[in-house]
Symmetry: D2
Subunit: 236 residues, 4 copies
Amino acid sequence: MLGIDGIVAIGGDGTFRGALELSRMGIPVVGVPATIDNDIGCTNYSIGFDTACNTAIDCIDKLRDTMQSHERCSVIEVMGRDAGFLALYVGIAVGATAVLVPEKKLNIEEDVIEKIRDSRIAGNTHFMIVVAEGAGKAYDIAAAIRDEIGIDPRVTVLGHIQRGGSPSARDRETATRMGYYAVKAFAEEKENTVICIQNGTITAIPIEDALKMKRSLQMDRYEILETVGIKAFPED
Amino acid sequence: MLGIDGIVAIGGDGTFRGALELSRMGIPVVGVPATIDNDIGCTNYSIGFDTACNTAIDCIDKLRDTMQSHERCSVIEVMGRDAGFLALYVGIAVGATAVLVPEKKLNIEEDVIEKIRDSRIAGNTHFMIVVAEGAGKAYDIAAAIRDEIGIDPRVTVLGHIQRGGSPSARDRETATRMGYYAVKAFAEEKENTVICIQNGTITAIPIEDALKMKRSLQMDRYEILETVGIKAFPED
Amino acid sequence: MLGIDGIVAIGGDGTFRGALELSRMGIPVVGVPATIDNDIGCTNYSIGFDTACNTAIDCIDKLRDTMQSHERCSVIEVMGRDAGFLALYVGIAVGATAVLVPEKKLNIEEDVIEKIRDSRIAGNTHFMIVVAEGAGKAYDIAAAIRDEIGIDPRVTVLGHIQRGGSPSARDRETATRMGYYAVKAFAEEKENTVICIQNGTITAIPIEDALKMKRSLQMDRYEILETVGIKAFPED
Amino acid sequence: MLGIDGIVAIGGDGTFRGALELSRMGIPVVGVPATIDNDIGCTNYSIGFDTACNTAIDCIDKLRDTMQSHERCSVIEVMGRDAGFLALYVGIAVGATAVLVPEKKLNIEEDVIEKIRDSRIAGNTHFMIVVAEGAGKAYDIAAAIRDEIGIDPRVTVLGHIQRGGSPSARDRETATRMGYYAVKAFAEEKENTVICIQNGTITAIPIEDALKMKRSLQMDRYEILETVGIKAFPED
């Protein structure tokens, strides 16, 4: 059709819905999941996530350099309108005092203020709060910290910085392998599928099934964060 | 005095004023200029400036990656409450459409809107506006662009990210040399001076004289920016 | 014993064998796999691998910048005395013309010369050869290319550069989670185990069992490389 | 001539000699100095030097990470066939124990062995030797250290990694300004010149004069290195 043998559709659920429509019109399609939010239901990993995490962590490292004096607090807003995967991953990687995700209704007193108090009692003198953009306004959270704790936090909104940059090793290697399996899917007449990673293995799932799948936040990691975060970097 | 042979005071004018007081109390001091603003009057270069510029440029490169579609605009706020050296340097390095500095009273129509219009006529489809924090509010400038040009700019405030990170080659090499000359100043009884770089040469200037010197923005560079910026990266 | 409640032993098989001895002396131990070679049998991932891959890729990107003229060839030796995981991963990520791994007996004619010839026929004008240190001498391979193809390749030995640097997002996040499960293993009396990742899930495997496990090179990835590498970046 | 209004010739002395020939044939030319060696006689700074220095330092930082145990030594070969500017700059920036430059006839006993001995007496336990490629063979120097000191040094040859990468802030800003003045030179009929930086100021020098100028190594910096290097990072 139109001289098109097939389309590799790289993106998220919206992209795959469009691809599904095209497939219904007779154009073979194969989807490859790519979004820095890593929230596509059918796959454990989406291309772009690792690069965005590395960028966010690199920025937070630079912020930490100026937080070494006593009683400093930083509130960093990272990407994630509907999903907290990136915030959670980054929060674990930097040893955040608290991470706020859209999947969990925000209770500032419990999720932020108490955690800073616990962290302070544990001997910490600076506090890193990572907020997914969909979880709450960084400036509101900072205001609450100012009122309740008496420290004036610095707010940083990373924004579209997280969307650019040279791709990381993991994103390049994964993208190459997914691209290979996408082309192979056409060759083996497994069209109208999405190339997914599940439990470390690449598989092709029919688009319609893929679109029905949901990915829920790893609550075990949230628990790790709560355990580790409070005591993070106490020696600094 | 107090068993102190001498103090190397690293910082800006405030630090040097404190050092001057100490020298009057009989403690020998030598100043070393360090501020990411690069606005210390007695020296052409202050330690920290190059690292901050590289960080800002690295972030702006990442923002540019997502600006490749047509008619995009980014407003980036960089450090510089009273001085535009960093904004100007970064603006030239990234080929900014406009740079706003505290040394020049802001006229949004002339300094921003007209430049975007000229750049658009010259064939550009995306526009990078660099604002020193003391020159104007990034959000106000974005609002004006939205109203007058009809593009909704993305705002990024780099903030304290610019203050951290591993020091650049230039900052390390310059810091080592300045430190060497600071120690040498004590050895040669040239105390109560500031180690400065003037026209590429390191000299020691009496603190009192150093504090009276002012550094004005390089207007020749501002002119370069105006010439180059409009046509920057037209092929992108 | 000795006032030691337990030891978290971070490293590879040698470290775990030492830990096993300690456990036999009555000191509880838990192993955490860490080696840039990623060749520990019991786990799909070892801490340090991702950071080393990113460093290698970053260096290879810089080498590629100077390979843009016609008919250039680079031979890059990466870490991997006994295992080719890093070489393979990096090779896929950079689109290498050929990757040489210790797991496969080297046949220079077949594994290097023919691949360069095929790549040249496919229209490529520069060729990137990635060699694990245990697979062959980079200088010998370069000499063979010079003799057979008539291009003088540039040799780069990355060496210990790959062992340093700030850890990547993936290494930090994984290390934090593995550390959490290591401490939890003591709390839950699952001592004398190694914390492993298998099919995307963290589990604790008895050290003795862990030491018996072998990890073989992902030959599916080797195949991907052979398919993709030849045509990689033909438009450059 | 040939419809060419003028040529901006970017490179070193070879490039400028070619440009001079073209100018004699009636084609107006303006030279812009660019070489990572920074050894062009007419200018204090050549485009590319800062990027190469940052790359070298970044690699050396990674090497240092694995040198923290006692009695380790690294020999790093950096670019510089005929000139030691890069080696000297990098050596000062990383606090090298010794820097070997082509401008100074190599005496291994005096220039390397004695310096390591002095550094060891001063309490240091690891030693960084930076060698410009034209000053001596890194492997020979390593062999001498092994024989005389009894430490087996690790050799790293940075090679063409130093030629690539995204340009640094300083290189971008300087290149933009030099390019501006090159175009301006045509407009103001100052053709057949080279755009140079002298004592911090940009000027246009006739090519013929420029080609006669020589740049000698900054021996004051060599002295700084000798003073600072021995005691560098004693607390590590």
